[in-house]
């Protein structure tokens, strides 16, 4: 049984990694500029050089944030297959599904894509796709700064204007940053990922997308100096760090604010005393995608409500 919970924790981490992506900002896609940009030689997120010989017409996207980007770039009609988690925009979910944590290779091949986009996999999925003679571009945004890079790269890959999308995204983030710059207050934020093991709760540390969002939103992550992107904290450490704001995921599996209040000893935490325990849409903040501006704003409203009236 212990074994099982380990498997489930691993699954949760996998899901998190895979679900780290997605969303749609409506930046009107301009039709491809200049003379034909193809063939294009691109460097992907694994530093591999990938050549796209002609404008790809059948796209498969494995990673919700990639899907969101492709639709935001106006390449939605060319997307023929997506992973099971791709649900943004809603239209994306109507495409053929090619699997989730485990990719269904036969389905991908049967869709005859001329370009496959995928997040990183450590189980040989990418290599297996390549050995099926598929052209694979690895795109795996993990931070806010990766988002603009992703927009540009995907724009080049599908022959759309990624630069404009990237600028639009950056502008929305900059608006939040400008607002936050007007205050020096940096409330301590504790962001909970998973409290299945109440002794060692998963939170976000440096190098994670949510840590970036907290920073942009003008908060001070209590685990900002942790040694990994998803560190585990004990209840003792959380009590000692005394967060002023607690943020939980608004889904069926996560703890509710009432659960947090009821935890032994947590009543002395500033956020609990001040009744500042919030929930946030996990899809919005887990996926480094075109909705990053919206995500930063949603987070900033929790941390600095006084600036967003």
């Amino acid at each position: 049984m212990r074994h099982r919970s380990l498997v489930v924790s691993l699954l949760a981490v996998l899901l998190l990694t895979l679900a780290s992506c997605g969303g749609a900002v409506s930046v009107s896609p301009s039709p491809s500029v200049a003379a034909s940009p193809f063939p294009a030689t691109l460097v992907d997120f694994q530093n591999r050089s990938v050549t796209v010989p002609a404008r790809p017409e059948r796209l498969v996207s494995i990673g919700p944030s990639i899907t969101a980007f492709l639709f935001a770039l106006g390449a939605g009609p060319r997307v023929v297959g997506v992973d099971d988690f791709s649900d943004e925009p809603a239209e994306a979910a109507t495409r053929e599904h090619v699997g989730g944590i485990k990719v269904n290779f036969e389905k991908v091949v049967a869709l005859k894509p001329d370009l496959v986009f995928s997040v990183k996999f450590s189980d040989g999925t990418i290599e297996k796709l390549q050995s099926a003679s598929l052209n694979v571009l690895v795109v795996d945004p993990q931070s806010v700064s990766d988002v603009a890079k992703t927009a540009t790269l995907l724009g080049k890959a599908v022959g759309a204007d990624g630069e404009t999308l990237a600028r639009g995204i950056q502008q929305r983030v900059d608006i939040i940053k400008t607002k936050i710059a007007t205050t020096t207050s940096r409330p301590r934020v504790y962001h909970e990922i998973d409290a299945s093991d109440p002794a060692k709760i998963f939170t976000v540390g440096p190098g994670s997308y949510i840590n970036d969002l907290i920073e942009i939103a003008g908060g001070a992550n209590v685990a900002a100096r942790a040694s990994s992107a998803y560190p585990q904290l004990s209840a003792e450490e959380i009590l000692r760090s005394d967060p002023e704001i607690i943020v939980l995921a608004a889904d069926a599996y996560s703890s509710k604010p009432a659960d947090v209040v009821a935890r032994p000893g947590w009543s002395i935490i500033a956020a609990v005393k001040g009744n500042r325990i919030f929930t946030i849409d996990p899809n919005l903040i887990n996926r480094p995608g075109p909705r990053v501006g919206e995500a930063a704003e949603a987070y900033a409203k929790l941390v600095h409500p006084e600036l967003f009236r």
């Binding site: 299945s196 585990q232 003792e236 009590l239 000692r240 069926a252 599996y253």
Partner: protein
């Protein structure tokens, strides 16, 4: 006299390990501040000590003591040195019942009761199975335990996996199954303490009857011990103790096996001495194991069951190899 001094030593060992368990934790707190916290200081250290560490140490003591006492009773009743709540599947049965209670949405205080009922059903089942074909052999008991443990484990797995789809709140169960004694609230501790006190009381009263069992049921009967009533009472006490332990800490293995066994070398097989000694030694052992679980690979934390398994499993194998009662 010798027994008294050993009991005294065990009390001292329990106190020392409890003090160590309260002094050491995820965040460093000066011994002076710990003392102030215990005396009621009104700051974050006070809360950490009183709400997190103290219940944890007391919980570990209750769980270890209960498992060791239940182990001593089972070993006496089955006349078998390789029995304990974990090996016989009693803990697994209690786990299954507790998980069922959570799935059915029973109120939190009912969970320990459910796990007691689960323990009672399994321990009775093991007793019946072990008596098939006359005397109890190591083999039947162990086989019964293996079968019941895998069955209960399979049902728990089924419930956990299928309930993900039903969106039942079973994350909490996962945490509890692996969590050991990590987070225990005072109300939970209170309920468990009452159950353990009753179980331990029964165990102490029944100890001399279990001694009569050492010579077989027939001899016990000639010594004026009613075998059926005694068996029922002992099984009930075992179920109370292991049910409370499981409700608090999930599956913790081998404490119930190793502790009474080791004590037999020190103070002999008389249950009047073995029962209280097992409780004290089991309590101290699990408090130490829990201390190890949070310091060995700090800042990460091992489930306490991993520590007891690490130490207990080789011990169990050694016993198994030395046992002359294996009938194949």
């Amino acid at each position: 006299m010798r027994t008294l001094s050993i009991l005294g030593l065990l009390v001292a060992a329990l106190l020392v390990s409890a003090v160590a368990g309260i002094l050491v934790g995820a965040v460093a707190i000066e011994p002076g501040d710990v003392l102030a916290a215990l005396l009621g200081s009104n700051d974050v250290n006070g809360t950490i000590i009183r709400e997190l560490r103290l219940p944890r140490v007391l919980g570990a003591a209750l769980v270890g003591g209960s498992l060791a006492t239940a182990g001593a009773l089972l070993q006496g009743l089955l006349r078998n040195p390789l029995a304990d709540p974990f090996v016989t599947g009693t803990s697994a049965g209690a786990t299954l019942a507790a998980v069922l209670a959570i799935v059915l949405g029973l109120a939190a205080p009912l969970v320990p009761l459910a796990s007691f009922a689960g323990a009672l059903v399994t321990v009775t089942l093991v007793w019946r199975l072990a008596r098939l074909g006359g005397g109890t052999t190591v083999l039947t008991v162990l086989l019964a335990g293996v079968v019941l443990t895998s069955f209960a484990g399979a049902v728990v797995t089924f419930l956990l996996v299928s309930s993900d789809r039903l969106a039942l709140q079973l994350r909490a169960v996962l945490g509890w199954l692996q969590g050991g004694v990590s987070v225990i609230s005072w109300p939970e501790l209170g309920v468990a303490a009452v159950i353990v006190a009753v179980g331990l009381g029964f165990a102490l009263v029944l100890a001399h009857r279990v001694d009569a069992y050492a010579f077989g049921e027939d001899t016990a009967a000639t010594l004026g011990v009613d075998p059926d009533r005694t068996t029922t009472a002992v099984l009930g006490a075992t179920a109370l103790l292991s049910g409370a332990a499981v409700a608090l800490a999930g599956l913790v293995g081998f404490v119930g096996l190793v502790v009474p066994h080791a004590l037999r070398f020190l103070i002999g097989a008389t249950h009047r001495r073995l029962v209280p000694a097992s409780f004290l030694a089991g309590a101290a052992a699990l408090v130490l194991a829990d201390l190890g679980s949070r310091t060995l690979i700090a800042p990460a934390e091992l489930p306490v069951g991993a520590i007891t398994g690490l130490i207990g499993a080789p011990f169990f194998l050694a016993l198994l190899m030395r046992s002359r009662r294996i009938v194949v």
